[in-house]
């Protein structure tokens, strides 16, 4: 079915609010999903993969900084979804880059890392260049990278299937490089065994956005129903007393 971007965002906000995400986080989560979908990068497919697990985020420990110096940090996300915690990791990289010119933050135990693209884009818009790299998958390992230049509004994104073997360390890890001095760009090398490589330029990302602005978003009805069903958790049951609370007579 067809929905507008704001409808999708509002439904997602309710969905994550009902799931136990807190103020600030549920907006971030909604914005991250919408951003990917709006820019032609399959935000709703990513969400479908994440949905069965988002309810668990509120029971997991908060992210913790397990190592830090002036230009780097290692953060353990404790198995949370990027929807729930990645923005804060990007903020930390951003702060360190502003202080020292360039910074690296590595995040461990973080799911749905594709959602980082919205946070990267926010950095670019605000005059900081960022690149990110991560691997995904147990059977078949894919690798991913995205980058945005300082002052730009759209990032580039690359992905490829590899012949790498999966290792637990890399599986839920993500590396963020951030600079206030150097414009970072990233693309995957033509490594041996890479296939199905896909590079989406910043220009293409922009064109995808223009299409969404013109036409809105198409969403699978079952997924739309599921998002709204979860979101009903923020609604309060109706009764005569509550009707009066709207000023009706």
């Amino acid at each position: 079915m067809h929905v507008s971007m704001i409808e999708l965002k509002a439904a997602l906000r309710r969905c994550f609010e009902a799931t136990g995400y807190f103020v600030g986080n549920y907006e971030d989560a909604a914005n991250m999903i919408l951003w990917l979908e709006k820019h032609g990068l399959n935000g709703l497919s990513e969400l479908e993969r994440a949905l069965p697990f988002i309810g668990e985020d509120s029971t997991k420990e908060a992210s913790s900084v397990i190592y830090e110096d002036s230009t780097s940090a290692i953060i353990d996300s404790n198995g949370r979804s990027a929807l729930n915690c990645i923005a804060a990791s990007v903020d930390l990289a951003h702060a360190k880059a502003l202080e020292n010119g360039i910074a690296t933050v590595t995040v461990h135990n973080c799911h749905n890392r594709m959602f980082i693209l919205k946070a990267l884009t926010d950095c670019g818009r605000r005059g900081i260049s960022v690149a990110a790299y991560w691997q995904n998958g147990s059977q078949t390992v894919t690798e991913h990278t995205a980058a945005i230049k300082a002052g730009e509004r759209y990032p580039s994104y690359s992905e490829a299937t590899t012949t790498l073997s999966s290792n637990e360390e890399d599986k839920q890890a993500l590396t963020i490089i951030c600079s206030s001095r150097v414009d970072l760009t990233s693309s995957l090398q033509r490594s041996k065994g890479n296939q199905n490589a896909r590079y989406i330029s910043a220009k293409q990302v922009e064109l995808n956005k223009e299409y969404s602005v013109d036409n809105g978003i198409d969403i699978d009805e079952a997924l739309w129903a599921q998002i709204n069903k979860i979101g009903e958790g923020v609604l309060v049951e109706n009764n005569e007393r509550s009707r009066q609370g709207a000023g009706g007579r």
Binding site: G24, E27, V65, A88, E99, N215, L235, V236, A246, G248
Partner: protein
């Protein structure tokens, strides 16, 4: 013509104009006391239509004798062609309900990009009359519905059918034939997002311009329909309505709590609106020359405001008292300036000591009205990019200082006091309608909307102070990793600190909170008049009263429909 650079220089820095203080301007009660002005969205829209001479013609006019059927207007602007599509259906009196939760209406409308052919019209017919129960596509960018003010409508039809004009005294009581009960834009129900409207439809790229346009078209249709029915009822004796009486008809509006969360959820946008109004005032205070023309116009406008206020009919005691007070204030200003005056600055200061908030803000609107050359060019600066960005590098000491400087008003509330957290705002499962509850005796507080900004600031400040005791050297980014629950409020605090005016200053959780102030503030920016509160939670008002008619487009236009008055009526009507 002004420029962003000129605006920036007038707001900040060595050469800034004298703006009114933040704590004065952002006080909720004062925001709830402002009135329509030259910068209100209805005024700016009408200026654009009249100056650009939009061509608005019916492309399809299929109404039966009772006024039921389908009408499509085509709107040709300098940029594009749009269609205004209206469905008029029979509604029994017992089905007529102004609440958001209603499911049927007398009229339903859509504003559409481009021409509407038969196929697309049919698609609209299947959905527009259903409103929230229907779906539209991204060609549509406003949906609305309206209900007749039955007594007024029938009376007007009868008068016209009997060779008479409507009695102006009666219209002064209820100045409209229809009330609109919701105007949806910005992506609701599948419509075009604001991002599309702002970037693709230049004619409507100002906040709420498209929504206001639909209300203007509705006002026009209400008059046309009344005449159409009267003419069919009595073709021999029918008389069309006099234009000056037509202009005195506006369109009614019922606004409930739904509007209130918008102001809290769009603080950067609201700040922008306030900044432009205050900048306009500052320009007048400093640059507004008080010459012979102004000395003559000023008392005339005060008189007009007084008559307009006196003509405002309300059964609400609180509003009646407000209106009476405004009349006293206007008298006092007139008396004070009877022998002339030579400084807006001095007069403004005098009003702050001698007039109520409503009177003070009425004076502000009058000042703006007198200087179109200083005010009107700010109409193009009412949009804002609504990014609430975290400043990750800000040291925590600075963040604490920002809260103390900019949110002293929030820290001053005693949240442990009786009633300080009794109110909660929530969404009902009935069409997600926003509602108010009392935390002491109603369920639902666990699902409240995050509108208690003042309380969130207080909690943030306390936790920040605690954290700083152990980590005084940390940055905001580091604090956010440790305290992710505060991310929303910290981002807001930092973003609003980058604004001139910032957040609305009120504890929205207080037992005594008056949502009416929030509604009034937004409605005043829209440009409505004749506030008629029906409770502390919803208000009736009138839009576009006194505005030019569609048939006035292309004729002379003096942009002088501020605080419209009932026309003088001669002889028998």
């Amino acid at each position: 013509m002004t420029t962003p650079a000129a605006i920036k220089a007038a707001l900040r820095g060595d050469n800034a104009l004298p703006l009114r203080p933040i704590n004065q301007v952002m006080d909720l009660e004062r925001l709830g006391a402002i009135h329509q002005s030259r910068l209100s969205f209805m005024r700016t829209l009408v200026r654009r239509i009249m100056r650009e001479r939009w061509q608005i013609e019916p492309a399809r006019f299929e109404l039966d004798e009772q006024g039921y059927g389908t009408v499509v207007y085509e709107i040709n602007t300098p940029n594009k062609l749009y269609s205004f599509v209206l469905f008029s259906d029979y509604l029994s009196p017992d089905e007529r309900n102004d609440r958001v939760i209603a499911t049927k209406w007398d009229l339903t409308m859509a504003l559409v990009d481009g021409e509407v052919d038969d196929l697309y019209l049919e698609k609209l017919r299947q959905n527009v009359p259903k409103q929230e129960a229907g779906r539209v596509d991204a060609r549509v960018f406003v949906l609305s519905r309206a209900n007749r003010s039955a007594r007024n409508f029938d009376y007007v039809v009868d008068q016209l059918a009997n060779s008479k004009q409507p009695d102006v005294a009666q219209i002064a009581k209820v100045g409209y034939l229809y009330r609109t009960t919701a105007v949806y834009g910005s992506g609701k129900l599948g419509m075009a997002d604001w991002e599309k409207v702002a970037s693709r439809h230049a004619d409507f790229a100002r906040p709420f311009a498209a929504e206001m346009f639909v209300c203007l078209m509705l006002r026009n249709f209400s008059l046309l329909q009344a005449e159409h029915i009267a003419q069919h009822k009595a073709p021999e004796s029918y008389n069309p309505m006099l234009p000056e009486i037509k202009r005195f008809f506006g369109i009614g509006n019922s606004t409930g709590l739904g509007m209130a969360p918008y102001l809290i959820n769009h603080p950067l946008l609201i700040n922008q609106w306030v900044e432009m109004r205050e900048l306009a005032l500052a320009r007048v205070r400093v640059l507004g020359n008080i010459n012979h023309r102004i000395q003559q116009q000023f008392p005339e406008l005060l008189e007009r405001c007084a008559v307009h206020t006196a003509e405002t009919v309300t059964e609400d005691d609180w509003q009646t008292a407000n209106n009476q007070q405004v009349l006293k204030d206007l008298d006092a200003i007139r008396e004070h300036t009877r022998n002339g005056f030579d400084s807006w600055e001095t007069l403004l200061q005098w009003s702050e000591k001698n007039c109520s908030l409503q009177g003070q803000e009425m004076l502000v609107s009058v000042m703006l009205e007198l200087y179109p050359e200083l005010v009107d060019d700010l109409e193009d600066y009412h949009t804002a990019e609504e990014f609430q960005d975290l400043d990750p590098i800000m040291p925590l000491q600075e963040l604490k200082q920002v809260i103390e400087d900019r949110y002293q008003w929030a820290l001053s509330f005693d949240f442990a006091a009786e009633g300080a957290k009794d109110t909660f705002w929530y969404r009902s499962e009935e069409k997600m309608e926003p509602r108010l509850g009392n935390a002491r005796d109603e369920d639902g507080k666990d699902k409240e909307m995050a509108l208690g900004v003042a309380y969130a600031v207080r909690r943030c400040y306390d936790q920040l102070s605690e954290y700083m005791a152990e980590n005084p050297e940390h940055s905001t980014a580091r604090f956010m990793v440790a305290q992710p629950k505060l991310r929303g409020i910290v981002r807001r605090i930092q973003s609003m600190n980058r604004c001139i005016y910032g957040d609305i200053q009120a504890n929205l959780l207080d037992r005594e909170i008056l949502p009416m102030h929030l509604l009034r503030a937004k409605l005043a920016f829209f440009g409505v008049g004749k506030f008629d509160p029906r409770s502390k939670l919803w208000v009736r008002n009138t839009m576009f009263q006194g505005a030019p008619l569609l048939e006035d487009i292309g004729k002379t236009f003096n942009d002088d429909w501020f605080m419209p008055l009932a026309p003088q009526q001669q002889g028998e009507f």
